[in-house]
């Protein structure tokens, strides 16, 4: 159950971060409703943010494993 809570928290945190960063990029000046070009931008931005998240996860896990294997003698 803890594992599930972690997964849910992780997904929520990702959505929060996507919204923060994509609202910033895509909704330059909030008007009476989201325009269709704002929505298109949000859709693209969401996909890009998720792939950045995947890239960062992979790089980070790879690096932590490498450091643990003792290849560099440094501590993160």
């Amino acid at each position: 159950q803890i594992q599930q809570e972690l997964a849910v928290a992780n997904a929520q945190q990702l959505i929060t971060k996507i919204n923060e960063n994509c609202f910033e990029k895509c909704v330059k000046s909030p008007s009476a409703s989201l325009t269709s070009s704002e929505e298109q931008c949000l859709g693209r931005c969401m996909n890009l943010y998720m792939s950045a998240f995947d890239q960062v996860s992979r790089s980070y896990v790879a690096r932590v494993s490498k450091e643990r294997a003792g290849g560099m003698g440094g501590g993160l």
């Binding site: 959505i15 996507i18 919204n19 994509c22 609202f23 910033e24 909704v27 000046s29 909030p30 989201l34």
Partner: protein, 73 residues
């Protein structure tokens, strides 16, 4: 049990207050990009009026997109 309900309510209030502080900060940075005058320009005022609703719309839009993508997988 009444106490429990009271505490829960106060906790909800604290959370709401924290959200309002954060949203104010976000919308201030989004809408007030120029100098500080005695009152908001027309553009700034309209931006502030719409900022919270568009921010929440944006959040709902993202959630819906994610759910739609999940079903197509």
């Amino acid at each position: 049990q009444e106490l429990e309900g009271f505490l829960e309510q106060e906790q909800a209030k604290a959370k709401l207050q924290a959200s309002v502080h954060e949203l104010t900060n976000t919308c201030w940075n989004k809408c007030i990009t120029g100098g500080i005058s005695t009152k908001f320009s027309r553009g700034e005022a309209s931006c502030l009026e719409n900022c919270v609703d568009r921010f929440l719309d944006s959040s709902l839009f993202i959630v819906k997109q994610i759910e739609a993508q999940k079903q197509h997988m």
